[in-house]
């Protein structure tokens, strides 16, 4: 006699008829992890170096005026926070991917792509800001030239 099973059985757990992750893909993941770790480490050094330069060139952000000093620090934190979070996200992605490959941890594999998504979101925002900043200079110059031409004539 067939056993009667509830219809929603297996809905909370991964279905057993899912395709397996091939050994080839696990090999790719394993080879990717050291590169991601390396990029995260070097990005951290790069950001620290840039922040150090910013601090040095702005006189360690210590001016006599309290509002000015606070403004510097808020600007600095506002600039540093996304960079630090980007580096952390990349590091977290590498750690979770390593956990997934070494322990064959399905949950870690699923969670690994969340920090990578956060990394891409911040990267997208920073890229758009960079493009706007790069394009703003020539655009303003062009507009200035166009506005100045009739006066020169």
């Amino acid at each position: 006699m067939d056993e009667q099973t509830p219809l929603d059985e297996g809905m909370q757990q991964p279905a057993s008829d899912n395709m397996p992750v091939e050994a080839e893909i696990l090999e790719y993941w394993t080879e990717t992890i050291p590169w991601i770790m390396g990029i995260a480490t070097m990005l951290a050094f790069y950001f620290l170096w840039t922040f150090r330069n910013v601090m040095v060139y702005s006189g360690l952000m210590l001016s006599g005026n309290l509002e000015e000093t606070a403004g510097y620090w808020f600007g600095f934190i506002g600039m540093a926070a996304p960079c630090i979070y980007m580096t952390y996200s990349l590091y977290r992605f590498a750690v979770l991917l390593r956990q997934a490959t070494q322990n064959r941890d399905q949950y870690a594999a699923t969670q690994a792509f969340r920090p990578l998504r956060h990394f891409f979101i911040i990267l997208l925002c920073l890229s758009l800001v960079s493009i706007a900043a790069l394009a703003a200079g020539p655009a303003l110059e062009l507009l200035g030239n166009l506005a100045g031409e009739p006066n020169q004539l």
């Binding site: 992750v21 990717t32 590169w35 990267l123 890229s127």
Partner: protein
């Protein structure tokens, strides 16, 4: 005990399933799909930014050379720094573009592969390109860090 063909898996198939222990669950596919969708746009923005930086660098260098008067000597004034900046900027952008192109392919394959429940070859291609893209970004970051270190000690 009678084993029919339907009950007995092929040896290769059996060993593959037993070897990995991970599976393409719906949650994993969903996670990859969400990541790849944002990743594709982010990489596209990086490619556009790289092109803008290249054009800006070339334009600035052209303007500088155009305004330059007299004989050009590399060690005169800040010529050395300018030439160094020009060459390293273009090399860094080139490496970044190479990596971005590979990652763009990776994101597209991952996006397509996450939707395909029958075949994981596309996902494999995506992760292959992801590995290569990260490798190129690794070269890029090594180059950038080496340049910064060299600038700190030499210039």
């Amino acid at each position: 005990m009678d084993h029919t063909d339907a009950e007995t898996p092929y040896p290769e198939e059996h060993s593959e399933r037993a070897g990995t222990g991970l599976e393409w669950s719906d949650a994993l596919r969903y996670s990859i799909r969400r990541c790849a969708r944002v990743g594709e746009w982010a990489i596209l923005a990086i490619i556009v930014a790289s092109v803008v930086v290249t054009l800006s660098t070339l334009y600035n260098f052209y303007v500088w050379l155009d305004d330059y008067s007299g004989e050009f000597y590399l060690l005169e004034g800040d010529n050395k720094q300018r030439m160094w900046g020009f060459i390293t900027s273009l090399t860094a952008v080139g490496l970044s573009l190479r990596a971005s192109w590979q990652l763009r392919n990776a994101m597209r394959y991952l996006l397509w592969g996450a939707d395909d429940y029958e075949d994981s070859e596309t996902l494999a291609a995506g992760f292959y390109d992801l590995r290569d893209g990260m490798r190129w970004y690794g070269y890029w970051s090594i180059f950038l860090l080496a340049c910064y270190t060299l600038e700190a000690f030499v210039f």
